[in-house]
């Protein structure tokens, strides 16, 4: 018997990179995931520049002062603060992620009885504590960055 294999006609529907940013109707962690990524990228970019700028100290006082004056000004100061805020968020959320990824805070599996709870819901106290801590750090940092300098 001859079997006829029909060619499957489909239309690709992967969301692509837009799918990272579209949080949909999911929990807060879905949005925290996107922010974590963006913050990480921002910090990395700053860090690479930071290595070259502070590396100028080995060329003597003039080079150092020139490097410092090239990255001063209001906009650089605001950018620096944004990096500080990103680090506060990324670091504290990172603590939550490390705890979760080593399976330390998530508890034990339990039978799914309606209404279902998820591990993310069970550690939401930790999640929000981390976010509040990050917000406090950002406020403290903002006080130092903008009111004391």
């Amino acid at each position: 018997m001859k079997t006829v294999v029909q060619e499957k006609k489909t239309r690709p529907n992967r969301l692509g990179i837009g799918g990272w940013f579209y949080g949909g109707k999911y929990g807060a962690e879905r949005y925290i995931f996107v922010l974590h990524r963006l913050a990480g990228l921002g910090i990395l970019l700053y860090f690479i520049i930071h290595i070259f700028v502070t590396g100028q100290k080995i060329h003597g006082k003039e080079a150092w002062n020139a490097a410092m004056s090239s990255v001063s000004g209001t906009w650089f100061h605001i950018g620096e603060y944004l990096v500080f805020a990103a680090i506060a968020f990324h670091g504290l959320n990172g603590i939550r992620l490390i705890l979760a990824e080593f399976g330390l805070v998530l508890g034990k599996p339990k039978r799914p009885i309606y209404p279902y709870t998820t591990a993310n819901m069970r550690i939401r106290v930790l999640t929000w504590s981390m976010m509040i801590l990050a917000a406090i750090l950002m406020l403290v940092g903002g006080y130092d960055f903008f009111l004391m300098h």
């Binding site: 080995i58 002062n65 500080f84 130092d144």
Partner: protein, 124 residues
């Protein structure tokens, strides 16, 4: 090398960075608050004299080296994750792996050089 090894060090690096970067930010960026509550002595942390004074101590040498190495590893592993999550061919993935490794390694070499030269200069 299995991916779990790379990932494990990504997390370990994260833990190390939290402590070391905490010190670094406290000293360099929250300096006014630290000075106000009396943990640090007053002065401009960004003046060249202060930079050399810090670079002189062995504690800062270790802190800077640890911070730079672990932060570079953590950052570039994270960047690699993001890039590889965008689907691409095996060849492209290999290119991404090598470019990220060489770029990160180059930065680490330059940073280590700058920190060690800074240390010897300050102690000269």
């Amino acid at each position: 090398m299995r991916e779990s090894t790379l990932w494990f060090w990504h997390l370990i690096a994260g833990i190390v960075i939290i402590f070391v970067l905490g010190i670094h930010i406290g000293v360099m960026h929250l300096d006014k608050i630290m000075q106000a509550i009396g943990i640090m002595s007053a002065g401009d942390v960004l003046s060249y004299a202060d930079v050399l004074a810090r670079a002189k101590t062995i504690a800062y040498l270790i802190i800077y080296l640890l911070l730079m190495w672990f932060a570079l590893y953590h950052g570039f592993y994270g960047l690699r994750s993001m890039i590889l999550e965008i689907s691409m061919s095996k060849t492209a993935q290999a290119v991404v792996n090598w470019v990220i490794f060489l770029f990160g390694f180059g930065l680490a070499v330059y940073g280590t050089y700058a920190i060690i030269i800074g240390y010897t200069m300050a102690n000269a």
